[in-house]
């Protein structure tokens, strides 16, 4: 016990003396939490639009006005030649072209119908898709307004119409920050828990202190606990700092209880600490540990449901996410923060993470040897 306490003291001393690690633990989360959620925005803004107007009528003017007033589009060029607009796309100055045909107003009034042409630059698929969809909605809206001006609609619509008005539960305003911020927090906790631990242990190997420690009568479990406990505590500290920040900056307060989150986080950290330990027992240098960590982090983030929904992944990828501890925590933290889930609702994820913790730690302890 005395040995363990002394090991912990030494470990904390080293952590607090290392300015770079301190910065990584405290400044990085703050920056990531404050900056990233604003940048990682699902909403498309500033879509650059080129309009080719062959009509130049009051109606086309009104349409253009309506589109630019929506706030989603930046009017890049307003021209009468499609070639000009295409050139803008080729030079990557425009994402979308909307072509208004000649006699647009006349056809619309006379024949009750008119066509518009839309060309999307699909190099950035997301932008093209969303931009196209936004534009379509605006045009439909415009269409309805035009009709309202002409026709005095009867009180009851003669044709049956189904109008869908969605209502977003748990996040009524679809504020993407509410689900991005907790997700990013999970990534940060994972970084501290697994990769800092791995790097720390591998550094001891690299510097040679590991060998010096190995010739001492120190017990394996003392050494391992001495490494895990500090980072377990640091992980929980980062989580706390993160929640504080998301309250200050974004006003996010979990609907569910903090107890649920911390119980899950405490066990989750055990699992990722085990992962860090495992990496450290297979890596001989900090470079190796960094590369392994980097590779794993990429997979963890992309298959975690942080940015893209797991449900929309192909089936094999969905199976892979079952092995991704990050995915479980992101799921849980969103359930608790947005929906207010309690321990009994996240029972399934909790059990799985306990499984992860047991397997990873057992594997790591087994493969950690004091001699070769």
């Amino acid at each position: 016990m005395r040995t363990l306490l002394f090991l912990l003291q030494k470990e904390f001393r080293q952590i607090f003396r290392d300015k770079a690690i301190l910065r990584m633990i405290f400044v990085m989360p703050i920056l990531q939490l404050v900056v990233l959620p604003w940048a990682a925005d699902y909403e498309m803004k500033n879509i650059r639009l080129s309009i080719v107007d062959h009509d130049n009528s009051p109606y086309s003017q009104e349409l253009v006005h309506k589109i630019t007033a929506s706030g989603y589009f930046l009017l890049n060029t307003y021209t009468q030649s499609f070639a000009d607009a295409m050139h803008e796309v080729e030079e990557d100055r425009a994402d979308l072209i909307l072509e208004i045909p000649p006699r647009f107003e006349r056809t619309l009034v006379r024949e009750n119908e008119a066509t518009l042409f839309m060309a999307l630059n699909a190099i950035n698929g997301v932008k093209a898709n969303l931009g196209g969809a936004y534009l379509r909605t605006i045009i439909q809206d415009y269409n309805r307004e035009v009709r309202l001006n002409w026709v005095q609609l009867p009180r009851f619509n003669p044709e049956t119409r189904i109008e869908i008005v969605p209502s977003n539960w748990f996040n009524p305003f679809m504020n993407y920050q509410y689900f991005m911020v907790p997700g990013i927090l999970v990534i940060l906790v994972t970084l501290v828990g697994s990769f800092l631990t791995a790097l720390n242990i591998v550094r001891e190997k690299e510097v040679g202190t590991m060998e010096q420690i190995n010739v001492t009568p120190i017990k394996k479990h003392h050494f391992i606990l001495g490494k895990l406990i500090p980072f377990w505590i640091l992980g929980l500290v980062v989580l706390t700092v993160g929640f504080f920040l998301s309250w200050v900056v974004y006003g996010i307060v979990p609907v569910g209880s903090f107890v649920t989150i911390y119980v899950f986080a405490a066990i989750y950290l055990l699992a990722v600490l085990g992962l860090g330990l495992l990496i450290s027992s297979y890596a001989d240098s900090q470079q190796q540990a960094m590369l392994i960590s980097f590779f794993m982090m990429m997979v963890f983030i992309l298959l975690s449901g942080l940015y893209t929904s797991i449900d929309s992944m192909p089936e094999w990828a969905q199976l892979v996410t079952l092995l991704n501890p990050v995915a479980y925590f992101i799921d849980v933290i969103r359930l608790v923060v947005l929906k207010g889930a309690g321990l009994s609702e996240i029972r399934q994820q909790l059990l799985t993470i306990i499984g992860f913790a047991v397997v990873l730690n057992a594997w790591a302890v087994f493969s950690y040897k004091k001699r070769s």
Binding site: T3, F6, K10, T209, E211, Q212
Partner: protein, 308 residues
């Protein structure tokens, strides 16, 4: 006196099937309690592998070894309690201070700095003025003293020093050997490895090791005594031509450059005149020739020659 360290036919190989490095090819020796035992050999001779086996960091592939009466494979836990190991590379915590490092090693050996302070007093006093400095910021000589203090803090019965004087200046080296002398007086068995032949004479007994094999174990005097051939130091203006001419001298056993002189090992006694006449015949200017006593390096070179 009993045996402190006993190695019996130790074997160690590295690498996979394709490329195997045979680091130790059946190494056997015994070290008496309280002895200062030197393991001397060039880089890559297997010194570090041997030390790593004896300090239980490495498992040998063949043979047996006992340290302080305990088997290095079976009773490695006991050995770890009673040996001190100072690896060739400085491996203490660079970001902890001198004092913190010492305390740390004392604690993990379940002892305190105070308990064995008398043992390290002479060494630690020299670095005590810097006890609040981080270990990484110490000079080479001070790092070495700190490492030695940390290796001694639990009063080990056997001390393993792996190339402690490599990369250390001449004055510090001398000081270091002085410290080892004093430790030996305290009854600690010391095993020290070094690539420097001139340090051999400072040990009680030495083992000369080369490519994983021990060539000779003896006292430094004994090793020199075993050198039977007469040895001549030769010097002339054109040293390069001199070496070539030496090699074509029929009565020669071996010749090699040795500092300012060339050393020539002759096959028989009283060949010196013969050699002088031979070299004068080759018209060497300002020729100097004198019979000298061999030192350990000469013995090492001779042993290498007979082995191959």
């Amino acid at each position: 006196m009993s045996t402190a360290v006993k190695a019996d036919n130790l074997e160690k190989r590295y690498g996979t099937k394709k490329e195997v490095t045979h680091a130790l090819k059946g190494v056997s020796f015994e070290v008496e309690r309280g002895e200062l035992f030197g393991i001397i050999g060039p880089d890559g001779a297997g010194k570090t592998s041997l030390f790593r086996i004896l300090t239980t960091l490495l498992v040998p592939e063949g043979g047996q070894a006992q340290v302080d009466g305990y088997d290095v494979v079976e009773d490695y836990r006991e050995i770890r309690k009673r040996v001190g190991y100072m690896p060739g590379r400085f491996s203490l915590y660079q970001d902890l201070t001198v004092e913190e490092n010492l305390k740390f090693f004392a604690t993990i050996f379940h002892t305190t700095v105070g308990e064995n302070y008398d043992l390290i007093k002479d060494i630690y006093e020299q670095i005590e003025p810097f006890k609040d400095r981080k270990a990484g910021k110490l000079s080479g000589g001070m790092k070495q003293k700190l490492a030695l203090s940390c290796a001694l803090i639990h009063r080990p019965s056997v001390l393993f020093l792996d190339e402690p004087t490599t990369g250390v200046d001449a004055v510090s080296r001398k000081e270091f050997w002085e410290m080892l002398r004093k430790l030996k007086e305290q009854g600690i068995t010391i095993l020290v490895s070094t690539p420097y032949m001139d340090e051999a004479s400072l040990c009680d007994r030495v083992a000369l090791i080369q490519t994983g094999e021990i060539m000779s174990i003896n006292t430094p005097e004994g090793i020199i005594r075993d050198f039977e051939n007469p040895l001549v130091a030769v010097k002339a203006d054109n040293m390069f031509r001199l070496l070539k001419d030496l090699q074509s001298f029929p009565g020669l056993f071996d010749s090699y450059a040795f500092g300012e002189y060339h050393h020539a090992v002759l096959q028989k006694e009283n060949q010196q005149q013969e050699l002088q006449a031979y070299l004068q015949e080759q018209q060497h200017e300002s020729l100097e020739l004198q019979q000298i006593k061999p030192d350990v390096e000469d013995c090492f070179i001779a042993l290498m020659k007979t082995d191959s």
